[in-house]
């Protein structure tokens, strides 16, 4: 039953938050923080058990012959831990950021429901459960995207729904179809479709439907257009949902799909992994190049997210064990780095009304701690050692080369250079002398500052400790290894 808690606790928090209403601020803070800390504790306890090889699972019957099953395996727990722990951090930030906003009960309620859905996506033991929570995630995110209720937000929300619900429909069709030919398909490292591997035509079509469905939230090029618009949401939403929980649900789905539904071997022999890799590669270049041209800070970061998410997709689509390890590690590393950046962007906008890159001159003198954290995250995202990002990009590139796909290695290097290109201007402008006189020494509210410093420091610490058992890299290696028979990271 423990495995349900990471889903049920946030649901409880969300419902309680709705019922408490707008006015009972203190109780709301208490319930949310307690819920987040408790959920994190449960997830960590599950991780410790999974490291010992004990996988907790549980299921309830939903439709005749079909159960909603959860299973706390290492891969799922990695995503769940990232979402849940960062939820706790983001809550502190959000209490500062939203201090004067309207409709806070609604905001924090749906925020908790988003985390519940993300944990459901992470811990689902088969495609049906993953689909169920994937759709719930769409529904729970919508009120947050349109939170301000302005026309701009409503338009962005509508576009988000168009993409997400169409993707959900493709996903549903794929899942129903797969279940119709193969029965329940539990996630099995190395693939679960051996019995029906002969039905190549159908399996190819189903792969396209499923990858298309996950591709919407993973923002593959062509399906990405909702993401930059969704940046109209409040900063904590951009930070936790549009850099971590929602978009990673898509990327995570890709990992499950390639590694644990089809399996790397079948995906390669069917010829479906290679097109996916090609689309992911194009997305990386596209996102990086478009990011270069954005002046709006959040949009620049959004395009960077589009590029970085495809690192994960490309990493698994290469069907090379080392690259897959890098991909899964990147899921955690990118989360920590990108959340730092969105937190910083939110602080800049909220404290100094800076929303554009061109207005950033000299801000490093105003907010040294914020911008230092931003710098740590930038170094990581560009793949500079010893920051966290390096330790996912190295296995990605090495794995690509090892499996003879050198073009992908070159792509990772190029994209690293492009990342320097779109991130360096932030740092260069920040250390310039200010053009106009500004109030000195104006860091943001401590409730916002400390979370930034913590996640910024994590960008470095996770890199420094990458070799330690329990680090995201080690964790990813253990989670991925079973999908590749005969391969061991040690």
């Amino acid at each position: 039953m423990t495995v349900w808690l990471p889903v049920l606790l946030p649901v409880l928090v969300g419902v309680t938050t709705f019922l408490l209403g707008e006015t009972r601020e203190r109780l709301r803070v208490l319930v949310n923080l307690a819920g987040a800390v408790l959920s994190s504790g449960v997830v960590i306890a599950l991780v410790v058990r999974a490291y010992d090889g004990a996988v907790a699972g549980s299921s309830v019957e939903m439709l005749p012959g079909l159960a909603l099953s959860l299973e706390a395996d290492l891969l799922g727990l990695l995503f769940s831990a990232v979402a849940t722990v960062l939820w706790a951090v983001t809550l502190v930030y959000a209490f500062g950021y939203m201090a004067h906003a309207e409709n806070r009960a609604r905001f924090f309620g749906f925020f908790a429901l988003c985390i519940a859905s993300a944990n459901g996506v992470a811990l689902s033991a088969d495609l049906l459960g993953l689909f169920v929570f994937y759709e719930l995630l769409t529904l729970a995110t919508y009120p947050l995207v349109v939170h301000s209720g302005t026309d701009e937000a409503l338009v962005a929300g509508r576009r988000y729904l168009y993409y997400a619900l169409s993707g959900g429909a493709a996903l549903l069709l794929g899942v129903v179809w797969l279940y119709a030919i193969a029965g329940t398909v539990p996630f099995t490292p190395g693939g679960a479709l051996g019995a029906v591997a002969g039905r190549t035509g159908e399996l190819r079509a189903i792969f396209a439907l499923l990858a298309g469905g996950f591709g919407v939230k993973a923002a593959l090029v062509g399906l990405h257009r909702w993401l930059p618009g969704a940046m109209v949401a409040p900063a904590p939403v951009s930070a936790l949902l549009h850099a971590v929980a929602v978009v990673k649900a898509g990327a995570f789905g890709m990992v499950r799909l390639v590694n644990e539904v089809y399996g790397p071997e079948l995906a390669t022999s069917l010829g479906v992994a290679q097109p996916l890799a090609a689309i992911a590669a194009i997305t990386i270049l596209f996102g990086s190049i478009v990011a270069l041209r954005q002046d709006d800070i959040k949009r620049r970061l959004a395009y960077s997210t589009i590029a970085q998410l495809s690192y994960i997709t490309l990493g698994v689509a290469l069907c090379s064990p080392l690259a897959a390890v890098g991909a899964v590690a990147h899921l955690a590393h990118h989360a920590v780095m990108k959340i730092t950046m969105f937190f910083s962007a939110g602080s800049l906008a909220e404290t100094h009304h800076i929303k554009r890159l061109s207005a950033l001159d000299g801000v490093g003198h105003l907010m040294p701690a914020t911008m230092a954290s931003f710098a740590a995250a930038s170094f990581g995202l560009a793949g500079i050692p010893p920051f966290a990002g390096f330790f996912s990009k190295w296995p990605l590139g090495a794995g690509a080369a090892e499996s003879g796909q050198v073009w992908a290695t070159l792509l990772f290097v190029t994209s690293g250079a492009l990342a320097v290109g779109y991130l360096a201007p932030f740092l260069v402008r920040a250390v310039r002398p200010a053009a106009a006189a500004r109030e000195p020494g104006a860091e943001s509210d401590p409730r916002m500052l400390w979370p930034i410093v913590i996640v910024g420091a994590l960008s470095l610490v996770l890199g420094l400790l990458a070799g330690v058992p329990g680090s995201p890299l080690d964790w990813a290696a253990r989670a991925v290894a079973p999908s590749y028979a005969g391969w061991s990271p040690w």
């Binding site: 939903m62 005749p64 609604r106 719930l136 529904l139 209720g149 929300g157 429909a169 549903l172």
Partner: protein, 498 residues
């Protein structure tokens, strides 16, 4: 006297007795009588359901007179499921009405208040009879009773528009009943029996019998408002008082659908009326698309919800082309349609009831003039959101379970296009529901919403509870599965789950 044996009659008589008492008790005490009746009706319905689950389908011969002369009642899993639905939604509607009519009229009971209770219980009793009757002539009687009380209920709303809508409704209702009766006459001339089970045994290739059944089915489709025979539904359902709209959209259309189901699955041998089943499926698909597009274009909430009924009814008819395949496909599709009927009833009644609250609180239900509702009336917004999830067929709602089952039946049969229709219908439903929800989420801007009427808890929380039930209905699917297995047709097909 063995009470258990008489349960089917008790289920029909309970609301009828309540209706009589409510009429005599007068407007002041009628609400209390109606609530008591609604609560008391739950018990025999639940008992009957439990008995069907335990012992399988049962036949009851009124006064000990069997067919072909006597009146026969048949209770199987299918009728138990629908009876249970009517009982639960009926209780919700009744509770809501006690608040609604107080809000509507303040301290003094106003127009429609007195007659509502009697007519509503009378319609309830007729519906229960329709769901239990075992011969095709009594179906006609029940259809007339349901139809006439429904028309009377629509006229309880004030103004000229409801009267016009009710006249149109009456016209459609009588046209349907007469066509049905004509069909019964032809069928009787050809076979000499009216009892459904005897008909099933004696139906052979006969032009008269086929024509008769075709007329009966056509009449039932008109009553269920299958496109293009839906012309009467949107205005009637939108113009009626909200507790009436809820009962009409959620329950009454399901009654005539239930009879269609009986005729196709229990009475007609496989392949009878060749081609009609596919034609009906195509019309269902057209209904899903056409009704959804119309819903998308409506300016008022109640019309949007009414057109949504036109669309959602279409899903029910996807069963018939799939039923041809028999076996597992039939079982999955039947279960899917049953779940859909239940989920739609919960969601649709909650939306009409919530629309009634909107009308009372803001004085209108024009969608464009309701920005900020999520802030001013969060319970109403939450009701529409939860019910909307069922309309869209997203998990974990009953609508999702239904669409999953129908889509997997379609894919298992090889006719994948029905699955595509289901998915497109879900997307269109998302479009019309989110059009409404987006307005609710919008900033109110400079336009303050007028707040009127007295608020009572019942009028807001009853719809929310019904919507929550539809949202979580997937949890009830195991029970519905057992009921479906206890129905006559599935017993022949060999169970729902292999």
């Amino acid at each position: 006297m063995n009470l258990v044996a008489h349960l089917p009659v008790i289920v029909i008589m309970m609301p009828l007795i309540g209706a009589s008492i409510a009429f005599v008790a007068g407007p002041r005490r009628a609400p209390l009588v109606t609530v008591a009746t609604a609560v008391l009706t739950i018990a025999p319905v639940a008992w009957l359901g439990a008995r069907v689950l335990a012992e399988g389908p049962t036949r009851y011969e009124i006064g000990g007179w069997g067919g072909p002369l006597g009146i026969v009642l048949v209770a199987d899993g299918l009728s138990a499921a629908f009876l249970g639905l009517v009982a639960i939604v009926g209780l919700g509607v009744t509770l809501y009405a006690t608040g609604y009519y107080r809000v509507a009229t303040g301290s003094r009971p106003g127009p429609g208040h007195g007659l509502y209770w009697t007519l509503w219980l009378f319609m309830w009793s007729s519906l229960n009879a329709l769901l239990l009757t075992g011969d095709v002539f009594n179906v006609y009687v029940c259809l007339e009773l349901v139809g006439l009380s429904a028309v009377a209920l629509v006229t309880l709303a004030e103004g000229a528009e409801p009267l016009r809508a009710a006249m149109r409704y009456l016209f459609a209702s009588i046209l349907g009943a007469m066509t049905y009766l004509l069909g019964v006459a032809l069928l009787y001339a050809a076979t000499g029996v009216l009892d459904m089970r005897m008909l099933a045994d004696s139906l052979g290739p006969s032009v008269a019998a086929e024509t008769g059944l075709a007329l009966m089915v056509a009449a039932l489709l008109l009553k269920t408002a299958l496109v293009p025979m839906h012309f009467w539904l949107p205005t009637a359902h939108a113009a009626a008082p909200s507790p009436v709209s809820a009962a009409l959209s959620a329950l009454v259309v399901k009654g005539s659908f239930f009879v269609t189901l009986r005729l196709f699955l229990d009475v007609m041998p496989a392949g009878y009326l060749g081609g009609a089943d596919v034609l009906i499926g195509v019309l269902g698909a057209v209904a899903i698309v056409w009704g959804s597009i119309q819903a998308l274009l409506q300016e008022r909430i109640k019309l949007l919800v009414a057109y949504s009924t036109v669309a959602q009814v279409g899903y029910l008819f996807l069963l018939f082309p799939l039923a041809r395949h028999g076996g597992e496909v039939l079982s999955a599709a039947l279960l899917g349609v049953l779940v859909h009927a239940l989920a739609h009833a919960f969601a649709k009644s909650s939306m009409f009831l919530a629309a009634g609250v909107t009308l009372k609180r803001f004085g209108h239900d024009r969608i464009a003039d309701l920005p900020g509702t999520a802030r001013r009336a969060p319970v109403i917004a939450a009701t529409f959101a939860l019910a909307g999830v069922t309309m869209m067929g997203l998990p974990p709602s009953g609508g999702f379970g239904a669409k999953w089952l129908i889509a997997s039946a379609a894919l298992a049969s090889g006719e994948w296009w029905w699955a595509a229709v289901v998915l497109v219908g879900g997307l269109l439903a998302s479009a019309y529901m989110f059009r409404l929800l987006a307005v609710f989420m919008a900033a109110p801007g400079g336009r303050p919403l007028p707040v009127g009427g007295v608020r009572t808890l019942r009028t807001e929380w009853v719809p929310l509870a019904l919507a929550a039930a539809s949202f979580l209905l997937v949890l009830a699917v195991p029970l519905v599965t057992r009921l479906a297995e206890a129905s006559a047709v599935v017993a022949q097909a060999g169970g729902v789950v292999p």
